[in-house]
């Protein structure tokens, strides 16, 4: 009897399982769909990586769990009987019959056996007349199904309508990628500096440490342009503090000395660095102390050498007092026709000072290289933040190409910083990256010189003629405005005013200041590219911190792209 009853209950069990699964689906699917839709909505306000996958994962996980529950969920015969009793108003007939017919059933003595048999027959009779489909129709909660449909439609709409945060995500990816690339370049630069034997080991180690720190910070950058720029700016500040602005003038003075000494030594090759210069100096002075030496200097040559040394000493006095003192001492010894130990000591001192200067020069070159690379990194990160956004919003490649060209120009201009030779305005338009001495060439018309990206230059020596510029005026463009007045630079040096000399006939005379680099220390004049970077970075920060619609961000980016040097 029990088996027969269980057999009758099996179709009901299958139907109930199916209905339970459907009910679970209709009751809870809206939750998963709503959660997925919520993720997509949030992704429109917050840059969320892989938001589509997250939303899809929620839905897939839910349906997986639902399928698992449906497959594994089992109902015992007793539960089926009880549910049938409840829903079909069978008044506990089936459950009671199962209890009394199961193999281990113990029927109480007070129960009438005939009534038990009748009860089981009655239950079987009712069980056989149950049509599962009609008895257990699916119960669908319309409100929840409607909620699920609304959520599904919302998901479809959110997937179809372009997400403004895609631009931000692409921008971050671009920035992160650029930061990685720049980090590699910094590491390569660090390797180059590591191999440089001319550097003082301590200085080298400090510089390498800073370079590697910056590389590590850029590598770890998740795409935050603000942080990347801040890291680079901090690095630049540290290096600039160590940068000697007078180094270029010192190098120029030493170059001039080298040329004069090469002429005295009757050499065609000019010494390329301070080491070679020191050797040449030892050679010249050593020969002069031996009268029998055929290469010994004449009195006139010794005087010329002493004068050259004295002039160089005066020129490097501001940047390297030790070197100036040593050269001056040697010049004095030469002037006094000294010989022997005193002269040799002076030569040794000058030689040591020159070697120290060589180390300083190497360090300054390494610093300049590092700064150049930092500037390049700064520009690359800025460009990445602009280019990525523009690429995503416009899906065009033209803007990217233009950015690359502009960046190339800026890089060239920057390489000229502090290394350009002073050119008089009358010499016309120079190459990009070469500086122009300030305060020269005053007249009624502007000189036609170009190339003004140098911030530290040797004094100009050219003569300008008012009203007769050697080059015709040309129309202004941003490439010309390489140096601009930046009032925000106040506090980085003392203001220096240089008045022009009006000779009345339109000619100008050379203004010789105490400073070997007139105008070079005027920190109010900074490279245009630097000002541009500042303003661009500030605008970038504003766009990061304040809420600005994605569409309007493009306008700001386009504006700065148009101004980009």
């Amino acid at each position: 009897m029990y088996d027969q009853l269980v057999l009758e209950l099996k179709p009901l069990a299958r139907r109930l399982r199916w209905r339970t699964s459907i009910e679970l689906l209709t009751r809870t699917a809206w939750l998963a769909l709503a959660a997925a839709a919520l993720v997509l909505v949030v992704a429109r306000f917050v840059p969320l990586e892989n938001y589509s996958r997250i939303a899809a994962s929620i839905v897939v996980l839910y349906f997986g769990a639902w399928l698992g529950y449906s497959a594994l969920h089992r109902l015992t015969s007793f539960h089926v009987a009880r549910r049938a009793d409840d829903e079909l108003a069978l008044r506990d007939r089936l459950a009671t019959a199962l209890q009394f017919t199961k193999p281990d059933a113990s029927i109480h003595a007070g129960i009438h056996p005939d009534l038990v048999a009748r009860q089981v027959e009655d239950a079987l009779y009712h069980a056989q007349r149950i049509e599962p489909r009609e008895a257990f129709p699916p119960r669908v909660e319309r409100r929840r199904v409607a909620a699920a449909l609304v959520a599904a439609l919302a998901i479809a709409a959110l997937l179809l309508i372009p997400n403004p945060m895609d631009a931000v995500i692409a921008e971050r990816r671009g920035i992160a990628k650029t930061a990685q690339e720049q980090a590699k370049k910094l590491e390569e630069l660090a390797k180059t500096i590591q191999e440089n034997q001319k550097l003082n080991p301590q200085d080298k180690e400090q510089l390498l440490k800073k370079l590697r720190e910056l590389a590590a910070q850029l590598k770890a950058n998740p795409g935050d342009a603000k942080k990347a720029l801040a890291d680079v700016a901090k690095f630049q500040d540290v290096l600039r503090a160590s940068l000697d602005v007078n180094q270029a003038s010192q190098a120029a003075a030493l170059d001039a000395l080298a040329q004069q000494m090469a002429a005295l030594a009757k050499q065609s090759d000019t010494p390329q660095d301070a080491d070679e210069l020191a050797k040449l100096l030892e050679q010249l002075v050593g020969s002069s102390s031996e009268p029998t030496d055929p290469n010994a200097l004449s009195s006139a040559e010794r005087a010329a050498l002493a004068q050259a040394l004295q002039q160089t000493a005066s020129q490097v006095a501001a940047s390297d007092p030790n070197l100036a003192s040593a050269l001056s001492e040697l010049a004095q010894q030469l002037s006094q026709n000294a010989s022997g130990e005193a002269l040799q000591n002076a030569v040794n001192q000058a030689s040591n000072a020159l070697q120290n200067a060589a180390q300083q020069q190497a360090l300054q070159q390494a610093l300049a290289q590092s700064l150049n690379q930092a500037d390049a990194t700064q520009r690359a990160v800025s460009q990445a933040s602009q280019t990525s956004g523009r690429q995503t919003s416009n899906n065009q490649g033209q803007g990217n190409q233009g950015q690359g060209n502009q960046g190339q120009q800026g890089n060239q201009g920057n390489q000229g910083q502090g290394q350009g030779q002073g050119q008089g305005p009358s010499q016309g338009q120079g190459n990009q990256g070469q500086g122009q001495g300030q305060g020269q060439g005053q007249g009624n018309q502007l000189g036609g010189g170009g190339g003004t990206n140098a911030s530290s230059l040797p004094p100009g020596s050219g003569m300008g003629k008012a009203g007769d510029p050697t080059q015709p005026n040309k129309s202004f463009n941003t490439d010309d405005a390489n140096t601009v007045y930046s009032p925000f630079q106040v506090g980085q040096g003392q203001q220096e005013n240089v008045n022009g000399q009006d000779s009345g006939n339109g000619q100008t005379t050379t203004q010789q200041n105490k400073s070997p680099l007139p105008g070079a220390n005027n920190s109010a004049l900074v490279p245009y590219s630097q000002v541009y970077q500042q303003y661009s970075a500030i605008a970038g920060q504003a766009m990061e911190n304040a809420y600005i619609p994605a569409g309007l961000k493009d306008y700001v980016k386009q504006y700065f792209s148009a101004l980009e040097p």
Partner: protein, 300 residues
């Protein structure tokens, strides 16, 4: 006795009673359930609602001995259970002989039971519980079936002796007799103010009722249904973990195990009357109010 005969007799009893009693179908059904369960019922209602008529009619339908006791403050236990009296036989010998009181009947109507003193009430209540009375160390069994239907008036409570909770628990059901509606009143007027008065037919006797009682006790009840009854009774106690908030707030003391017995017995009879051979949870729902309403002591 078969279940079919049980149903037929019960249906006939209800039909015959309904020839005299207008409306009050639930009261009639629950009174019949009480009778078939071998219990006693307490009817609460204002005078004139047909309580006496109901018991009298039942007695006529069942062909049983009926007695009515009007409870008053001066009613003594002996007035109910009877007493030993001195009698003289033909030979002149004198001896005490037990003279049964009105309680010795099959159907007893204890009218306004709360007007008697507790001592008198307890005399009846002993008979109700034990189906016997003890007088002068001699126990006298009642004839079966023995069914007491006590009434009490919810009004005029002054000078009454409300039944203590322990005594109330001995009643199988407490039935609230409601006032008839207009149609029922019109029918009552038509039936009772004319020349002819309806007279019910005798359907069964005491033996039949006993057989019906026996059959009802044999109705199968599944273990999970019995457990449900037990859980229900436990849930009437405020200290039970499964007790609903309403019980925890308003019930001082819940039902006794007698309540569960009454619930199951009434459920069995209800199932048989419904044509089933098993007790269902729905049967408990139907009989729970008369079973539990006098067994739950409320917070004052």
């Amino acid at each position: 006795m078969t279940p079919e005969q049980f149903n037929e007799i019960a249906a006939n009893i209800e039909t015959q009673v309904s020839r005299v009693i207008v409306g009050q179908r639930d009261i009639v059904r629950q009174t019949l359930v009480t009778l078939l369960a071998g219990g006693n019922a307490l009817l609460e209602g204002v005078p004139g609602l047909g309580k006496t008529m109901l018991v009298r009619t039942l007695a006529q339908v069942l062909d049983c001995k009926f007695s009515r006791i009007q409870f008053t403050p001066d009613l003594m236990p002996a007035d109910i259970v009877g007493t030993n009296i001195l009698v003289e036989d033909a030979s002149g010998a004198r001896r005490f002989q037990f003279e049964p009181g009105p309680v010795f009947a099959n159907l007893v109507l204890a009218d306004e039971i709360n007007r008697a003193t507790p001592k008198t009430q307890s005399a009846l209540l002993e008979a109700m519980q034990e189906h016997s009375v003890t007088v002068a160390k001699t126990t006298h069994r009642m004839s079966e079936p023995f069914f007491v239907l006590a009434t009490q008036n919810p009004l005029e409570m002054e000078g009454t002796y409300p039944l203590p909770e322990a005594q109330l628990d001995r009643f199988f059901f407490k039935l609230n007799v409601t006032f008839p509606n207009v149609d029922e009143l019109v029918t009552i007027a038509d039936r009772t103010t004319g020349q002819d008065t309806a007279r019910p037919q005798s359907i069964a006797n005491g033996m039949t009722i006993c057989e019906m009682q026996q059959l009802a006790r044999g109705v199968p009840i599944a273990p999970h249904i019995t457990q449900a009854a037990a859980r229900l009774i436990r849930a009437t106690h405020s200290d039970d973990a499964n007790a609903p908030d309403m019980v925890k707030r308003y019930v001082k003391w819940g039902s006794s195990p007698r309540g569960m017995q009454a619930l199951i017995l009434a459920g069995k009879i209800t199932a048989l009357l419904d044509g089933r051979y098993n007790v269902a949870l729905d049967d408990f729902r139907a009989v729970a109010p008369p079973v539990l309403r006098h067994r739950l002591i409320r917070e004052t």
